[in-house]
Symmetry: C2
Subunit: 286 residues, 2 copies
Amino acid sequence: MMQETKFLIVGLGLLGGCSARRLSQLGHSVCALDVDEEALSYALREGIIRRGAAYDAQMVHEADVVIFGLYPKTMLSWLRLHQGDLRPGALLTDVSGVKCGVVDEAQSFLREDVEFVGAHPMAGRERSGVRFSDARLFRDANFLITPTEKNTPQGVSAVRELAEILGFSRISVLSPAQHDERIGFLSQLTHVIAMSLMNCNDDPELAAFTGDSFRDLTRIARINDKMWSELFLLNREVLLRQIDAFCEEMQAVKRDLITQDEADLRARMQRSTARRAQFDEGARAR
Amino acid sequence: MMQETKFLIVGLGLLGGCSARRLSQLGHSVCALDVDEEALSYALREGIIRRGAAYDAQMVHEADVVIFGLYPKTMLSWLRLHQGDLRPGALLTDVSGVKCGVVDEAQSFLREDVEFVGAHPMAGRERSGVRFSDARLFRDANFLITPTEKNTPQGVSAVRELAEILGFSRISVLSPAQHDERIGFLSQLTHVIAMSLMNCNDDPELAAFTGDSFRDLTRIARINDKMWSELFLLNREVLLRQIDAFCEEMQAVKRDLITQDEADLRARMQRSTARRAQFDEGARAR
């Protein structure tokens, strides 16, 4: 990205805010559109953005790179409504956690002279909003780019460069379908588990008796219900399959307990131990 | 505990090692029995214990306080075999993660002139053994004492004092049955979940695509299979009930996805968010 590249953040939430912060730190011109006036005035006060508005056609037209920090459906509506204001050659990218039905959908109606490259910065917090944004959130995090046959190598390279500038430590390219399959497992199933664990026991005194395990497994039970229900429903077929595979494994442990099959129980524990060790090595390898 | 109080650790693993470290730091005389010569020589070299042996009747007889860091069944065998060597008035306590079938069992055959008070220091690591012990592991951790009608107020007070000396931040007293019910949920169910999540997907490339959620939920999938299978089977009836309650909640989420019931899905997310927030407050209150 050249120093003169002008960035527009549409949807100044947590991830949009982190991106704006980092790009401004690097001296880029960053503007933002958001319907939340308080988010904009906070960002202006903090020097995270140069200008902000609910909508401003001129601002849209001036942007070389537009980063959408909106929920998927809101982004699609925005694009349908405002794509006419984009400048020819503009590069568009997003942060949303589901790609099928989003990237292909956007590309199906988008003007030919702009390029949308789907992306998913794998970073988050239990709190949303620009006030909780922190450019350090991206460090050591994974960044996924999900191009389709409609994308150009130049567009994909530009988004990779953006991810590097934003500070992500590992950048991977995969198809929208591969993305949704993996995210359905790694991110969505884990949230279903955390919610279910938190909801299946209403003992109010648990905190006095807990070790780290329960605390770690339910950290993400604090969940933005509007965003996550939209993501779950967009990826429901994958997620349903992942829930089934997980529950089948739980049932297998249950059978071992019923039949007191210590050998099989230990074999399962040894398998999970070996896999988690392998996972740790993979994580260190980056 | 008086400065002259003599401690004996039987089973110098992670928790026995942490206890020995802390008590030695405070200037107490700490000896240890373990069949693992390397563990003993490591502990002697590090100055964690004063003397060590596989077995030494004199050492057992000299101990005022005996802390068992053994697995439950091994501890019961040890007690049956060696209780004759204990000095009259000795205080015995343990660290094991299940209490029913352990505390009552020990008390059923133990000499009348010694006292066994069940305890569970809620601290652990993914690695076992004295080499990974660290006295700081107990800071900010919970300590549970599980007396029965066979215990004296003096015995319970002494174990509470021991927990304070060891550095635990919150000490609770509850019955063995209450303990097993809560631990079945907070600790055992969480381990079943972590194992099952790790085992239900064999994609070797997951590490490249993960955020923090999967990493947090599978940290405890690295599990000591010998110890945990013993604990699971000792508490199997409680654990089976907890697995059922959790899986029922997972199935409810699944139904919401199938019927695309966004309102109910969001209600579940709001519930888990509120409960986790309440849990955080409970944890802060200590």
